[in-house]
């Protein structure tokens, strides 16, 4: 029996799939509909300070025929009054006692104001609180959102105001618009937060209209940066989640956000340590219904891999994360082309020739070109296998002869012990000894 239930910093949910605090969680109507379709939890769209929105609010990034691989927005926190939101939150929680309802908060930086909103929020019966320190547009100009997340001291101070009165779990949602995400994460930890949510949206300008020169989205001729999200940001989110997950000082449950559009994305974040995942853009594009595939796909995958709970594989990939200096310099792979599968598009050739290390030859055979890798010169960069449009046509094959291993750090230690300076010549000596030739 596969159990998808999770516990993220004390917030329990039926499955790891939560809706992120965003337009899809703007109202009880939406959140109830989402729960009916299977979403395990929802972070209510941030409530707090009075705001007014503008139009347009979104800009889309399309690539090669695919609509909306990225989206940016200048929408603010909920523009519905606090009372109305709190009432709907408590109704929703009453109707769906088994789903996680988390309320995202953002108010001005005053202790009393925070104390008040936290208490009122707890009264709704919700399962947790998420502190929005991430919103990078509009709210930050008013000293909230990412203006807090970017300064670890503010982050700690406000989180303490919340945790000192909260009786329910508190997650801190971080902005990626910082030079090192670890510091605000540690600040949250120091202030006794129960978990970290990340990432919020990334500062961005989505594009410019070439006919009108107008930056998009345009608000009556004016524009500004917005928060970038969607599939395109996933690699950045994966990295930042891994940073927080690896940090021994932080050591907090993580609710991962950033470009999650299907169960596979979710699995990747869980493998890096996330306890729950939050989705927004994919739902804005296709609706709540996508959760059905997410649940089914995850369940099938777990069954196939022999996992019965999320904890069975959570963080499973984290131990691989290491510094470049500890990577084995002597590991060698080369590209091998399956000639039977090759369709002769020659994209591997031109990529290697112009963009890499010139080690694929084009040999005319029967009116087409045969692409042949000069293995002795292949540096194993894998570019050719990445551009190849045919599945499993180019594979990167390990050609390690011995089980020898030497990392840069080990090598530098040897140099240090032998009192040998690091020069191009001394390095060439090492390379030569191990049959490595740089062309």
């Amino acid at each position: 029996m596969i159990d998808l239930s999770t516990d993220c910093g004390g917030i329990k949910s039926l499955n790891p799939f939560w809706l992120a605090s965003a337009p899809p969680t703007n109202s009880a109507y939406q959140v109830c509909k989402a729960f009916e379709q299977g979403w395990g939890g929802a972070v209510w769209k941030t409530i707090g300070e009075p705001v007014m929105n503008v139009c347009n609010r979104y800009g889309g990034y399309d690539y090669n025929g695919q609509k909306l691989i990225g989206i940016n927005n200048i929408e603010l926190i909920s523009d519905r009054p606090i009372e109305k939101n709190l009432k709907e939150i408590s109704e929703t929680k009453r109707l769906f006692p088994n789903n996680a309802v988390i309320v995202s908060l953002m108010v001005e930086s005053k202790k009393e104001t925070w104390h008040e909103i936290v208490k009122r929020t707890i009264d709704t019966g919700c399962d947790g609180i998420e502190l929005n320190y991430g919103c990078p547009h509009g709210m930050s100009e008013r000293g909230m959102g990412s203006a807090v997340g970017q300064v670890p001291e503010y982050c700690k101070m406000i989180t303490e105001w919340v945790t000192e009165v909260s009786t329910i779990p508190v997650l801190v949602k971080l902005t990626p618009n910082v030079s090192d995400i670890i510091y605000p994460a540690r600040a949250a930890k120091a202030a006794k937060a129960d978990g970290i949510s990340l990432i919020n949206t990334i500062n961005s300008i989505i594009g410019i209209d070439l006919d009108t020169f107008q930056i998009m989205p345009s608000v009556a001729g004016k524009s500004g940066h917005g928060g970038y999200a969607g599939a395109a940001v996933k690699p950045i989110a994966l990295h930042l989640v891994s940073q927080v997950a690896r940090d021994k000082e932080v050591n907090l449950p993580i609710s991962a956000i950033g470009g999650i559009t299907n169960w596979k994305d979710a699995v990747e974040f869980i493998l890096l340590g996330a306890s729950s995942v939050q989705v927004c853009t994919a739902v804005m594009h296709y609706g709540f219904r996508i959760v059905k595939d997410m649940i089914e796909g995850l369940t099938n995958w777990m069954e196939e891999k022999g996992f019965s709970s999320i904890e069975d594989f959570r963080g499973k990939s984290l131990p691989q994360l290491d510094d470049f200096g500890n990577f084995n310099l002597l590991h060698k792979t080369v590209a091998r082309i399956d000639q039977k599968k090759c369709i002769h598009c020659n994209l591997c050739y031109i990529a290697c020739e112009d963009g890499a290390h010139q080690c694929i030859d084009l040999i005319p055979v029967n009116g087409h070109n045969k692409t042949v890798v000069r293995e002795s010169e292949c540096v194993g960069c894998s570019l050719c296998s990445l551009v190849c449009p045919v599945e499993e046509c180019i594979s990167m094959v390990s050609v390690d002869e011995k089980s020898e291993s030497k990392s840069w750090n080990e090598l530098m230690n040897e140099y240090k012990n032998e009192n040998k300076p690091l020069t191009w010549d001394s390095l060439a000596e090492f390379q030569h000894k191990h049959g490595i030739e740089i062309h």
Partner: protein, 447 residues
Amino acid sequence: MKNLAPKLSLKEYENNFAELHPPFTPLTAKAEAERCLYCYDSPCTKSCPTHIDIPAFIKKISTDNLLGSAKTILDSNWVALTCAKACPVEVLCEGACVYNDKGEKPIEIGRLQRYAMDNYFRNSSPNIFTFSKKKNKSVGIIGSGPAGLACSAELTLLGYDVIIYEANKIPGGLNTWGIAPYKTRRQDSLKEIKLIKSLGVKIKTGIKVGETVSVEDIIKKHDAVFLGVGLGKSSELEIPGEELKGVYNAINFIEKVKSENWNSVKVGKRVAIIGAGNTSIDAATEAKRLGAEQVYIIYRRDTSQMSAYDFEFLLAKKDEILFYFNSAPKKIVGKKYVEGIECIKTKLISKGLKDKPKLTVIPKSEFIIPVDMVIKAIGQKSHNNFLNSIKELKMRDGKVVVNKKNYQTGNAKVFAGGDCINGGKEVVNAAYDGKMAAHGIDEYLSN
């Protein structure tokens, strides 16, 4: 004709002759262009007789650089709109697309080329060409079909004064007069002619070289001459009854259809086409689309021997054309009008393994198909008399012999290309010949 097919309404005609491959919309064109893998040293380019840089022009569609896309196409092919619509892409570029090897649908190269060219002509054909310095030499071109047009355009860019002599009232050769209307319309060809004229090419229509003026005069008048005269009269069946009313040749029939005055083209209720080449298919499907109740294609050999492309055969079958294979016409039956065609069954007989099988008639296997119209489509002869009148020009198997490198004939001043040198191929082959001959002429005149 004894029984004419009933006339159709204008709407019915237009429906019947509607384009087989409708144009892309901007969104669908981009989606298809983005599907292109942008192969390097691509098989599609190699298989295009004019070697258009196909991945480059498709990439430009995907980046909204439509003018650049048209420029890439026109750099290689002067009659690119016609080719986009009339080329047998299944056996050329699209047949070579790497997606075929992947087991997926090839890129619709023809339709994408048409998209780029349509856009170019819609935007009143901006001048995107680079002209060499005027050379003060002139070249006379006989025939304004695709070979002559391509040659004239290229020579003009190279700095030559070019005059095309065209026997017909409307120029364009087969592009204007021969391609089935569900592939291209006359207007498409005229757009290309207008573009080529805008470069400075002069076209004199109604000039029958050999009749109106002598070929010697043309050769004397110009520094060089290009022959793009295509093929001549249709071959005869040489069977009794060929003089009956209701017997036509395919070229004339197709020319009439090409006028797009559907109403005025007489077509029988039941029509027999003799021959199974691509022209036969055109004549058959056109007769059917004009309202003929039943159209037959009669061919003395079997499917494996017919020269029509597979996709043309399929089209004919879709149009409910009935095929009589291994049936040789023996006699056209009728008093004054065609009433039927008498055929005799044939088979291939080989005497031994080494012996090439011979087509033999089966005695007493005659049968009559009642028809009102017979269209002969068994090939065309070359303009033998005319071509033989040119001094030093050599002919072989009815084709003008040229040096493959520069398209020069036995007469150093005379060059040739297109159907008159290959016996009848595609528009795209003629377009390539014409262009390459222009460079041959340039080299000849520069020395």
